[in-house]
Amino acid sequence: MSDLDNDKRLNEILEMIGRVAALDFSRMLPVSSKNDMIDAIALGLNMLSEELNANVVERSKLDSINTKLEKFAYTTAHDLRSPLNSITGLVTLLELTVNPEKNSEVDNYISKLKTTTEQMKSLVQGILEYSKVNVGSVLMEDIDLNNLVKTVIDTDELKERAVIKIFDPLPSVCFNKSAMDQIIRNLLSNAMKYSDKKVCEIIVKGEEVDGRYQIAVTDNGPGIAPEHQDKIFELFNKVESEVKADSHGIGLATVRSILNAFGERIWVKSILGEGATFYFTIKKRR
């Protein structure tokens, strides 16, 4: 085979690489009967293209199913809110009508009914917040994280439940404000919810690492076993509900979902019995 022929075959290979890089898997390279190195490369590329195509198709099917599931979860949770509010009202009416003796059997049942309804409302709210994560057209604005953390502490009256310290000034970032509010609120309330100490201590720190801000929220809680450190970010994970009965395993999944939607990430470092530090990244402002 002449150099000219080989040049042509190599050019076809280069073109094929370009197409595959552009996720165009429609082309298959001709493989001659020479069974030489160029044929081997062409066949290898053809097979890679087939496998990539199968993966891309599979991935887009999964994405489509996920989108439908999220919409379904949102609609279901949204539609459940109204009857749940009615139940809350009806239970209060029932309590007022029956006016049960304190600590009587009826009083206990009504109290349990109220608690269960509140748990359901919190679960529904959690699902709604998780499903709302969508960065399609969100407003990005400058946020002073120091102010935001302090506002969350004041609004949620967290000072009564924990000692929260902000180490060094936190950076100002460009992010969606309600999303950042949700992230901080979830991480702080999470630290308090699972605290096993008399005084829950939380430290919030920010530093620049590899051109991004890295925010760390450290607590003095029970810590997280290594085998659970990935699972706690999964939706409806059992790890959180095993530790705390009223946990639905939504909070951290929501935080991760928000951050991932903005191209950021979150992870945890922890030694069991020695607290945990949740880190998340935020792109620096240009």
């Binding site: 493989v31 069974n35 030489d36 190195m37 044929d39 081997a40 290898g44 097979m47 199968a54």
Partner: protein, 123 residues
């Protein structure tokens, strides 16, 4: 020793309990060929997994579903370990691709000569 063949593969089951499969020149392996190969192999080893020496040298192409089939439990039930002989550039690509992506369920290694493959199968 028992020998069988179809239009693409020659099967030889030797007295020392090793199954050899050799493809004829310019073989294109499809899912149908893969399943046929598994069926014949299973019959020849009497449905008991035996060491397999598979010479891919003459294979010029193997479809995606055929590769998947060769990595499946159905096919893995016919052999205990597998030496793939890859002496041509294309067979090397197919062999490497098979090991890297399809992850066969039983021990499988690539060899560039039969003697080394047989030595490993007899270990």
């Amino acid at each position: 020793m028992e020998q069988r063949e179809n239009d693409k593969i020659k099967f030889t089951y030797t007295d020392d309990g090793i199954l050899y499969t050799d493809c004829f020149p310019n073989t294109i392996m499809t899912l149908v060929d893969g399943k046929e190969s598994t069926r014949i192999s299973a019959e020849m080893v009497n449905f008991t997994p035996r060491p397999l020496l598979c010479d891919l040298t003459n294979v010029v192409s193997m479809t995606q579903d055929c590769r998947k089939h060769f990595a499946s439990a159905d096919h893995a039930a016919t052999f205990s370990k597998c030496a793939l002989i890859v002496t041509s550039p294309i067979s090397r690509v197919i062999g490497n691709f098979f090991l890297g992506l399809n992850k066969p369920l039983k021990p499988t290694r690539l060899f560039t000569n039969k003697e080394e493959g047989l030595k490993w199968l007899r270990e």
